[in-house]
């Protein structure tokens, strides 16, 4: 689904991503892991176009070269994004937040898909409240719900469980699983919490200081690897 | 040939005053061009030096200094607002320059270096009030003005004058508004109420510039026409009218020393020249332009008389110089640096012109110090030697302030 080849990224002078390669196979959940500040979020931003890559290529669905696309066109291709830190629109109501995603839906529907409310009932309950007034976890749910509104083919989740109560985290995991199974969704997940990753991801990739240092089936995520790359 | 005579032109070309002042700059350029075509003065050409003080008062002082100190101009024609004149005054005096000030003003000033070719209050306000009182039979007065020095002073003079004429205090209503005031509903309604007491009422307006359009509009809309309550204005001229739909204003008055509609050959020639110069068929002339016309010609004559552009020589020579004005009469520079002017009252017509309905039988001498203000009624100004005093107190027989400094 997504093929990242040899990308380099800089924040001003500082080289953040180095020759990075990553494969996200279709219909699977790939989990990116790594310590704080190694560049996971930066990588996601590069895919979304929020940061520009200096070199290398990102190919979506075998054919589309993403690096040439504007940000707004990427979501039109069917990429949904749940960024780190929620990034909801604080002064829009919950419902309006969700409605922002309607524009790019293929079916041109003007209604928020039922599934979103089913998944996060609290959003329905609070649909007229301003996004910014929600509690942290509710905001996170809103961010995920909003990404689902566009019915993406590829869903990028940057630490989605952060701040969400345990039973809902589990539920999110289940939803991911269902979506993958039923709708053939592809998921790119950034996650620090091992149990969650182990449970719901099919593949993993570990980043360290801007480089990909390990990759493979989730079963191959050994304690040794963890010790080497995920602890300080 | 000799160096040209440099003429500084100090009028705002941008900012709020550009609306009034930019035409004066063009007038000066036209006059200079004409003079040059006629061979200049004393065989020397004139060279205009134009600067833009941008309606900013300190900038006026700075530009005046620039003209005098840097460009070394021989004379300056400029300023519109009194505050700008006040701002350049110390500079002109310090550097001993010459300034011709072409706009009506509140008086109470006489400088050795400044020639006031616009009207003093006794050349505009008082005759206008006399006309209203005697010819129209006005008994109740609204003195409406923008809240600053010129209207305040003029109204103070008028108030004293009216009371001296036996008008009761309750028959005088005074109203001040901020600059650029645009909402006249309440005030016009008040005027209407004030004017409906059965006595003939008139408004004496010292409303400044941009506030006039909405004022007259409101008058029209509230149905006050000139036959009911005439308004006589001191700062609404042809140029201001060119921005107003004059249809509803017909009959309201203005007091000036010149109108474009005056039937005089000199005037027609001036208008033709102006239209040719601007290239606009609908270009209008107005009172301050005439003042510059007079001032410029006086300067020319004075330089010829003195045979030099030396400031002191010109200053002495110019007193007594008489040149034709545009209304068919003669303007003379008086020892107090003010000139003689006829006073004309005109009624607004639907074509944006004034029709003269009254005029003083002869010209009036500008009075630097008003007789109707307690502080200045004893002062006179005479810049001829040996008196050379701008504020001579006839009671105490002494020359105040400035001369005292000069004497030290």
């Amino acid at each position: 689904m997504l093929k990242i080849q040899k990308i380099d990224q800089y924040y001003g002078e500082s080289h953040t991503l180095w020759d990075l390669e990553l494969d996200v196979p279709e219909g699977q959940c790939t989990c990116v892991m790594g310590r704080n500040g190694v560049g996971k979020t930066t990588l996601m931003k590069c895919i979304m176009g929020e940061e520009t890559v200096k070199s290398g290529s990102i190919t979506f669905a075998q054919e589309v070269e993403l690096t040439q696309k504007k940000i707004e066109d990427r979501s039109r291709l069917g990429i949904g994004y749940v960024p780190q830190g929620r990034q909801i629109f604080p002064l829009l109501t919950v419902e309006e937040n969700l409605r922002t995603g309607l524009a790019v839906r293929k079916d041109g529907s003007k209604k928020i898909p039922e599934r979103v409310y089913e998944l996060f009932p609290v959003l329905e309950e609070m649909r007229h409240r301003r996004g910014g007034d929600l509690s942290g976890g509710q905001q996170q749910q809103l961010a995920i719900g909003r990404a689902l509104v566009i019915e993406p083919r590829l869903l990028i989740l940057d630490e989605p469980g952060e701040g969400i109560q345990p039973n809902i985290v589990a539920q999110i995991g289940e939803v991911i699983r269902t979506l993958i199974k039923e709708d053939g969704l592809t998921v790119l997940l950034v996650e620090q919490k091992l149990p969650f990753a182990r449970k719901y991801a099919d593949r993993f990739a570990i980043l360290d200081r801007g480089r990909r240092v390990a990759e493979g089936e989730i079963a191959g995520l050994t304690n040794e690897l963890i010790k080497k790359h995920l602890t300080v | 040939a000799e160096d040209p005579i440099k003429v500084g032109i100090l009028h705002s070309l941008s900012g709020t005053m550009a609306i009034s002042e930019s035409a004066l700059k063009d007038t000066m350029l036209m006059l200079i061009e004409k003079q040059n075509a006629a061979g200049g003065i004393l065989g020397r050409q004139l060279e205009p030096v134009v600067v833009d003080p941008a309606s900013n008062w300190p900038l006026f002082a700075e530009k005046a200094r620039e003209l005098l100190a840097k460009d070394k101009v021989d004379v300056i024609f400029g300023n519109w607002t009194s505050v700008s004149r006040k701002s350049v005054l110390p500079v002109i005096e310090e550097l001993n320059g010459l300034l011709f000030y072409p706009v009506q003003y509140e008086g109470e000033e006489s400088s050795e270096n400044v020639f006031y070719t616009g009207a003093a209050p006794n050349q505009q306000a008082i005759p206008a009030v006399n006309y209203l009182m005697n010819d129209i039979g006005v008994e109740r007065w609204v003195l409406a003005g923008t809240d600053y020095v010129y209207p305040r002073t003029t109204n103070k003079i008028l108030e004293t004058y009216l009371k001296a004429q036996g008008v009761a205090p309750e028959d005088i209503m005074i109203n001040y508004t901020p600059f650029g005031h645009s909402d006249w509903q309440a005030i016009v309604s008040d005027i209407k109420a004030f004017g409906s007491a059965g006595k003939k009422t008139a408004v004496v307006s010292t409303i400044n510039g941009d506030a006039n359009v909405p004022f007259y509009r409101e008058l029209g809309n509230q149905g006050i026409n000139a036959a009911d309550i005439p308004v006589v204005a001191f700062s609404v001229g042809e140029q201001e009218l060119s921005g107003i739909d004059t249809g509803p204003l017909v009959g309201h008055l203005a007091a000036w020393n010149y109108f474009m509609s005056v039937d005089a050959d000199a005037n027609y020639e001036f208008i033709d020249a102006w239209v040719a110069y601007t290239g606009k068929e609908d270009a209008v002339t107005n009172d301050p332009m005439e003042a510059h016309y007079i001032g410029f010609n006086m300067y020319v004559e004075a330089v010829k008389k003195a045979g030099t552009t030396d400031v002191n020589a010109v200053k002495d020579a110019i007193i007594g110089v008489a040149v034709p004005n545009l209304t068919g009469g003669i303007a003379t520079m008086m020892p107090n640096h003010h000139i003689t002017k006829p006073v004309l009252i005109g009624e607004i017509q639907d074509n944006g012109q004034f029709s003269v309905v009254w005029q003083t039988p002869s010209t009036v001498v500008g009075d630097a110090w008003s007789d109707f203000l307690p502080g200045s009624k004893d002062l006179i100004s005479d810049w001829r030697k040996p008196m050379s005093c701008g504020n001579f107190n006839v009671v105490s027989g002494t020359c105040g302030g400035k001369a005292a400094v000069a004497a030290q």
Binding site: R35, S135, E162, G163, Q192 | -
Partner: protein, 274 residues
């Protein structure tokens, strides 16, 4: 002037973990005491008759579903939100409801926000410097000098939060997790009597979580700590007493085991399979 300096110097002899002598009076029991606190936003009751007591030196974990009112509770304690009814006491002397945020902060209540907030235009080092316990009135701040001891303290904290290499970097460029750490560092610099920590380990790796847990447990005893967290593993590793909030009031309170077996807690919060 010199008197001020002396005052400022006196506390430098202490290790940074030891709290400053605070004017809090805890002789009569708890350090924090909330009684019958309620607050509603446009009719929505976010906190509903909440009663809570934190003892001096205690480490308390607070859990509860999203929107239960945990953050709002902290807002109330720190003076950000004024409750509609109820009373909040810090020790037995200070009625927090009558105090402004800076007053509350200088009484010795420090807070880490759920969404990390640091001063992005300042460096990591400067962020810590500002947080440092000191006389925070205007003129003393103007004349303050950063002496060696202060520097050492900052370095120490930098070490603890693992941002030594980034000390001169602007806080704005830190990654999410790094900002979390910086905020914890700022909290440490403040040396408060009571620490309110909202979701400290969100976005941290397992091992960092362990370190945080360790840090918080060392603090407890000398300082009182209130932690809000959704990561059960983390809570379990530090928890002595856990309070569960639900819909603005206390649903359950007790040890981790008691709480996690509480049927209501399982229903509204933990889910079946944890």
């Amino acid at each position: 002037m010199s008197f001020l300096k002396e005052l400022a110097n006196r506390d430098k002899v202490f290790n940074f973990l030891i709290p400053e002598v605070s004017p809090v009076d805890v002789r009569h029991g708890p350090i924090l005491y909330l009684e019958d606190v309620s607050v509603s936003f446009d009719g929505f009751k976010a906190i509903n008759n909440l009663n809570l007591t934190i003892d001096d030196g205690e480490l308390r974990c607070i859990i509860g579903p999203n929107g239960a009112g945990k953050t709002t509770m902290m807002d109330i304690i720190t003076g950000k939100t004024r409750p509609d009814t109820g009373s909040v006491w810090f020790g037995s002397r200070h009625n927090l409801l009558t105090k402004s945020e800076p007053e509350i902060a200088s009484l010795g209540i420090g807070r880490k926000f759920q969404k990390p907030t640091v001063f992005e235009a300042l460096t990591v080092f400067e962020n810590l410097e500002l947080a440092m316990a000191a006389d925070k009135r205007v003129l003393p701040t103007l004349t303050a000098v950063l002496n060696g001891e202060c520097r050492d303290r900052i370095d120490e904290v930098l070490e603890t939060i693992g941002l030594r290499n980034l000390r001169a970097a602007l806080a704005g460029i830190l990654s999410h997790g790094q900002k979390q750490w910086l905020e914890i560092g700022m909290l440490l610099m403040q040396k408060p009597r009571l620490l309110l920590v909202d979701e400290p380990v969100a976005g941290m790796t397992e091992q960092e979580m362990e370190r945080t847990a360790e840090l918080l447990t060392t603090l407890a005893g000398k300082q009182s700590v209130v932690v809000v967290e959704h990561d059960m593993g983390f809570v379990r590793s530090i928890a002595r007493k856990v309070t569960v909030l639900h819909q603005g009031s206390v649903l359950a309170e007790g040890t981790m085991d008691q709480v996690s077996n509480h049927p209501d807690v399982i229903k509204v919060y933990l889910g079946e399979e944890t």
